[in-house]
């Protein structure tokens, strides 16, 4: 069954039930790449989420990769943060804790940058699964962020909602934040393949397509943008991939991204992409914060 929105619409138009196309609905990564290229300007991601939401109501069992419903009401208390930049770092497992420290350092150090203890990862999971997120939980998440000017958010899925919840705040990804420094950009070259985090990129496409185009022209680096300037996702951040990278199709996607390219290094914005590229290629895979 083809996994396009149009195909699903036709299937439903032809009399199929939502449950009949559940596999297709579940396979959407919510990467948002469909929206900038839709000639009709349709909010396809929102429609996919609406379908997933309706499907959830019909399900007797959630897919195995869904977040535990019991985790929905987890309340994490964070202090109000007073620095102008707040890093919402997401998951930095094991050795990648060094990368998190490096990001803070590169953004200006502890005096300028606060690290949010509550990284909203449970909210991201619920949003992806299209399960309800309580207003209390949202309030708890955003309360400490109110004094900041800039939110540097690793999880791209949170960019759009944070812009809605905290209007006026600048919400950017880790990659954009670090690449704003000429020092970091200088470390990139034509032999690097730079992997843009897709969900954040597509949530602010009209601005970021220009940002990354300037980066490409300035440094000569290759990127995971296709000819339409859409970021090809690996899907490694998705809930399904967290259970099983291979079953989620991430290795196949990464294979498509590197196919026919010659590079000596892969630079990632999203740490979830590290394992994927390490499994499909022998070249070093580094986080953008490790660029020197």
């Amino acid at each position: 069954m083809p996994h396009t929105r149009k195909a699903r619409a036709r299937a439903l138009h032809g009399g199929a039930a939502l449950e009949d196309i559940a596999e297709s609905i579940d396979s959407c990564l919510l990467c948002g790449s469909c929206e900038p290229v839709c000639p009709e300007g349709i909010g396809i991601a929102a429609m996919n989420m609406e379908q997933r939401h309706k499907l959830n109501k019909l399900r007797t069992n959630y897919p195995s990769w869904y977040p535990e419903p019991s985790g929905m009401n987890t309340r994490i208390k964070d202090n109000v943060l007073h620095n102008s930049i707040i890093l919402i770092a997401g998951e930095y497992p094991g050795a990648d804790l060094k990368a998190r420290s490096a990001v803070i350092e590169l953004l200006g150090g502890d005096k300028k940058v606060s690290l949010a203890v509550d990284d909203g990862r449970d909210i991201g999971g619920l949003l992806e699964a299209c399960l309800p997120v309580s207003q209390d939980r949202i309030d708890d998440f955003i309360r400490p962020l109110r004094h900041a000017d800039t939110l540097v958010v690793s999880e791209g899925l949170l960019h759009g909602p944070l812009r809605k919840w905290l209007p006026g705040k600048k919400v950017i990804g880790t990659g954009e934040a670090l690449l704003s420094s000429a020092y970091i950009r200088k470390a990139l070259g034509p032999e690097d393949l730079y992997i843009i985090e897709c969900r954040g990129y597509h949530s602010d496409y009209e601005r970021l397509v220009k940002f990354y185009d300037r980066l490409r022209k300035e440094t000569g680096c290759q990127t995971n943008l296709d000819l339409q300037r859409i970021a090809i996702p690996t899907g490694a951040s998705s809930l399904q991939a967290k259970k099983d990278l291979e079953a989620a199709g991430c290795l196949e996607q990464a294979g498509w991204i590197i196919r026919g390219r010659s590079m000596r290094r892969i630079v990632i914005e999203d740490l979830a992409d590290r394992e994927v590229f390490q499994r499909v290629t022998g070249v070093p895979v580094i986080h953008v914060s490790q660029l020197r």
Partner: protein, 517 residues
């Protein structure tokens, strides 16, 4: 209205009288569904051969219509083949059980050619791998279900590009080669089908055959431009070239005929690498001329540019202002043209697709613009193709039909370089009397914001097609629901010849049965 239904393989005399083109009684505007005789035996047969047939409502409904959105039909089942062997098994079983098989790539037909009215649908998009790029021979071998955009993506990583392809992201290679394929470089390079070096084809009886101009050339000639009648293309080897960014110049006209004459002048003189006409109604007519290299552009500027009668943008703006001052009751039209111009043109100059003043990824830039400004959920684009001498009249007559039916529309005209008198051009979009360069025009109403009935849209298309019948022209899309025109448009002798060939190649007449035969 009485619509007679005829058995497959029978093309009766066309009921159109020479003096009564308007109101032609169509033979079949929406074919009756095949009733499913032997379907279960057929499916059982395929399953025993290891071929998966999807029969669920969801699987079949996905393919219920094509881009035209006028023809609707459901297959009994869908096969997503992974190899030519799968398709061979399907066609052998289909011959034995007399089950109709419809092939579909991107589903970008507009007359229901890729809609299955019962029977089996072969979804070729599953065969989408690039098999080999040969930079020495400058060829690419690819599975035929791949979309051109996907092929461009792979080629670009090696600094290569295809030669010509439809301005459409989701047209498949196989589907395109089966109908021709027109690009804005077709005045120079011809149809996409003419870029083919070799093919792998599964014949309607299930034989897997390689063909090229040296090996089985007669099959190659029948499959290219063959509207899927003589085989399923499973692999294609195509010519490729080095990728180059392009520069574009625009010339603006208020007269269709003058613009067409200049387009034909450019094509005849081989003055540019790309050329075509895009209009806003018949008031703002843009002739675009583009170049792969600075040398070609310099040569154009020195030798041919002064012969063109189009205005620059400022000059044309003044001309239009004067025109609408004298015709103030048409002010809404002027507002529409200005609004459209300001929305459309920035799309051609988006910074991320420009580098050093040149457009990179022309296929993306053009395709995005075409989809965004001319496309829609339903594509209604009847067309006419003609030899040079008849073209201006054909476009003017078609334009009058557009004016009659729609407030807003566009015309897209382009030349098509021919490779001589090849058998492949018989019964194709290439008009039989064309020599050297044929010309095609698409007539496309702007449908957004207004709902038209299927009958209204079909009536519009029929009036355009009637012009072709009257003037002895051809069509890019003459399959599917245009079946009733074929004898009038192509002539009895050629139709009977192809019908006999089809019966010999496809004894049960099962392959793409609703397209022509």
């Amino acid at each position: 209205m009485y619509i007679p239904v005829f058995e497959r393989g029978i093309i009766p005399p066309d009921p159109v009288a020479p003096d009564s083109l308007k109101g032609i009684p169509r033979q079949k505007t929406n074919p009756s569904r095949w009733q499913g005789d032997n379907w279960q035996d057929f499916v059982q047969d395929l399953r025993s051969r290891g071929v998966t047939v999807c029969e669920s409502r969801a699987d079949c409904s996905v393919f219920m219509t094509d881009s035209g959105g006028v023809a609707y039909g459901l297959p009994h089942g869908v096969v997503r083949p992974s190899s030519a062997e799968d398709i061979s098994k399907v066609l052998k079983a289909a011959q034995a059980h007399r089950v109709p098989v419809t092939t579909r790539g991107g589903g970008l037909t507009t007359e229901g050619e890729s809609v299955a009215f019962g029977g089996l649908l072969l979804d070729m998009s599953s065969m989408n791998r690039v098999l080999e790029i040969n930079p020495d021979a400058m060829t690419v071998r690819t599975q035929a279900g791949i979309f051109w955009h996907q092929l461009a993506e792979i080629l670009r990583r090696d600094g290569l590009d295809y030669l010509s392809a439809p301005l459409n992201f989701t047209a498949s290679v196989g589907g395109t080669l089966g109908v021709g394929g027109i690009d804005v470089n077709s005045p120079r390079l011809g149809c996409s089908a003419d870029q083919t070096v070799a093919l792998q084809v599964v014949t309607p009886t299930g034989d897997i055959v390689n063909c090229s101009e040296q090996e089985n050339p007669e099959l190659m000639e029948r499959v290219l431009f063959g509207y899927g009648q003589f085989g399923v293309i499973t692999e294609a080897t195509l010519k490729i070239r080095k990728f180059t960014p392009i520069t574009i110049q625009y010339f603006y006209y208020s007269s269709l005929r003058t613009a067409i004459e200049d387009l034909q002048f450019i094509a005849r003189e081989d003055a540019s690498d790309y050329s075509g006409i895009l209009t806003i109604l018949d008031r703002a007519i843009t002739l675009l001329v583009a170049f792969d290299s600075d040398e070609r552009e310099r040569e154009f500027n020195a030798r041919w540019k002064r012969n063109l009668r189009g205005h620059g943008e400022a000059g044309f703006g003044l001309h239009m202002a004067w025109h609408y001052l004298l015709h103030p009751w048409r002010i809404k039209e002027a507002v529409y043209i200005i609004g459209r111009r300001f929305k459309l043109f920035p799309e051609f100059w988006r910074s991320e697709f420009m580098h050093n003043g040149k457009i990179v990824d022309r296929s993306v830039v053009f395709s995005r613009a075409v989809w965004k400004f001319w496309g829609g959920p339903q594509l209604v684009i009847p067309d006419l193709s003609s030899k040079a001498e008849k073209f201006a009249e054909a476009v003017e007559r078609g334009n009058a039909v557009c004016r009659k039916y729609f407030r807003h529309y566009t015309l897209y005209c382009v030349g098509i370089k021919l490779r001589g008198k090849l058998p492949r051009y018989e019964m194709s979009c290439i008009p039989p009397d064309a020599a050297d360069i044929a010309y095609g025009c698409e007539f496309e109403p702007m449908l957004r914001g207004t709902n038209y009935s299927r009958d209204y849209l079909q009536s519009f298309k029929n009036e355009i097609y009637d012009i072709g019948v009257d003037m002895g022209l051809s069509y890019y899309r003459f399959g599917g629901m245009m079946k009733g025109y074929i004898r009038r448009a192509i002539g009895d002798e050629l139709v009977d010849k192809h019908l006999a060939m089809k019966k010999a190649a496809d004894p049960a007449m099962i392959l793409n049965a609703e397209v022509i035969f």
